[in-house]
């Protein structure tokens, strides 16, 4: 068991180190999420309510996550690293867990900028929105990492990932926006937790089949 988590830690460390040295993904995600919020500010009519803006914040974060996910397996694909990882004597689901961890870290960093920026540009946000984002990030990272591995193996690549990802993310948006704007956030947060649990188990169990023949 500790060997398993040792593999995960080593793989995740590799991804984070790569990002720290090359700075390929995170700066782009940060710039994208702030640009998206500014565009949304101008796309809303002046008398639009803060509730509508909260919905747009969720869209901005989902698309930022998509941006990060399209890059998630770029290094593996360009340098044929995935074949090597699959051949390595470690459980294949460790690859998923490690990649999911780095995707989660990038997404949390992007939100650390996006949420204060939203509070500055639009309206202050409460604890329930932060909790909803924390839960949603887990689900996005779990499902997104698996789908990114699928998309990386296809010819269409960047084109395919949004098509695979967006229908699966609809329940997250429902739960997240509900938790942010409804007076009773508890059941929406519980729903997000349920989504995370179900899809994390499914993705963890099925990742091996996506990267092997």
């Amino acid at each position: 068991m500790s060997a398993y988590f040792g593999d995960v830690a080593a793989l995740a460390r590799k991804d984070l180190l790569l990002e720290l040295r090359a700075r390929d993904t995170v700066p782009a995600m940060l710039l994208f999420v702030v640009s998206a919020l500014v565009v949304f500010r101008f796309s809303l009519p002046t008398e639009a309510s803060d509730l509508a803006a909260t919905g747009l914040l969720w869209i901005a974060v989902v698309f930022t996550a998509l941006l990060g996910l399209t890059r998630a397996f770029a290094a593996e694909r360009d340098q044929r690293l995935l074949d090597g990882l699959v051949l390595a004597p470690c459980d294949r689901s460790a690859i998923w867990l490690a990649k999911g961890t780095s995707v989660l870290a990038f997404l949390v960093l992007a939100e650390a900028i996006a949420l204060p920026a939203f509070a500055l540009f639009f309206s202050p946000i409460g604890w329930e929105t932060v909790a909803a984002f924390a839960l949603a990030d887990l689900g996005i990272a779990a499902v997104g990492t698996l789908l990114a591995a699928m998309a990386a193996a296809s010819r269409a690549r960047e084109l395919l990932l949004p098509l695979l990802f967006l229908p699966l993310v609809i329940p997250i948006v429902v739960g997240g926006v509900g938790a942010s704007v409804e007076p009773d956030p508890g059941r929406y947060l519980a729903f997000l937790g349920l989504y995370d649990l179900v899809f994390a188990i499914l993705a963890w169990a099925s990742f091996e089949y996506v990267v092997t023949e």
Partner: protein
């Protein structure tokens, strides 16, 4: 493996007889709905089609699970064909539901109509399934990825259902409750005949499509071995 089978024609004949009988019962025998009148009779097509779409998605996911379990490649084609049928019946559900919504509530589309919204989500999801298949090279890897995606779909159905239920106040009539079907015996019988008919139709289409696709694969193999 024989390319000819007798299940297809038998299912087609059964579908023809049952659907003819079901439509006759729906138009001539059952009484008008007390609340919605004559237009409620679309129920006898709309709901069986929707249930058949679910059955096709479930069947596709079951075949996908068998593929991952046994690694037998023939399940790939079966899972793909079942999902193909599911999408066709899903589109039919969207169309018939839309017509019913127009007559009952005066709008073609209503976001508070949870089943319609669910079918829209599923339609988008399974359309992406086709994109995934078309943009990946044939082989065991594609079979595995399609199977995993099909399994995600069958999990997405209850999760989306819960999400939509959470999000909307709905006006969709609920006929099947925990106390059993809330309708008269004649209506329920007609409904069952129609459901059996649509399921038989789906089976016939599935068998035909599967035979065609197998023939396609066989032809490609023969061509490759000739050249």
């Amino acid at each position: 493996m024989s390319l000819r089978n007798s299940a297809g024609p038998a299912a087609a004949l059964g579908a023809f007889a049952l659907l003819l009988g079901g439509i006759a019962l729906a138009f001539l025998w059952v009484p008008n709905d007390a609340d919605q009148g004559f237009s409620q009779r679309i129920f006898y097509i709309h709901v069986p089609v929707a249930l058949t779409a679910y059955a096709c998605f479930g069947w596709g996911a079951w075949k996908a699970l068998r593929l991952l379990w046994t690694r037998e490649q023939r399940y790939d084609l079966e899972s793909y064909t079942a999902i193909h049928m599911g999408v066709i019946f899903g589109v039919l559900t969207l169309v018939t539901g839309s017509i019913w919504a127009r007559i009952s509530w005066g709008v073609w589309w209503s976001w508070s109509e949870q089943q319609l919204v669910l079918f829209l989500v599923l339609f988008l999801f399974y359309s992406a399934y086709f994109m995934l298949r078309y943009s990946t090279d044939p082989g065991p890897r594609r079979a595995n990825m399609s199977a995993v995606y099909a399994l995600f779909g069958v999990v997405l159905i209850p999760v989306s259902f819960l999400a939509i239920r959470l999000a909307k106040n709905f006006i969709h009539p609920v006929v099947f409750t925990r106390d059993g079907p809330q309708m008269e015996g004649t209506m329920f019988l007609t409904f069952c005949v129609c459901l059996a008919g649509v399921l038989a139709l789906a089976t016939a289409l599935y068998q035909t499509e599967l035979a065609g696709k197998r023939l396609d694969v066989k032809l490609r193999e023969l061509r490759e071995s000739l050249s």
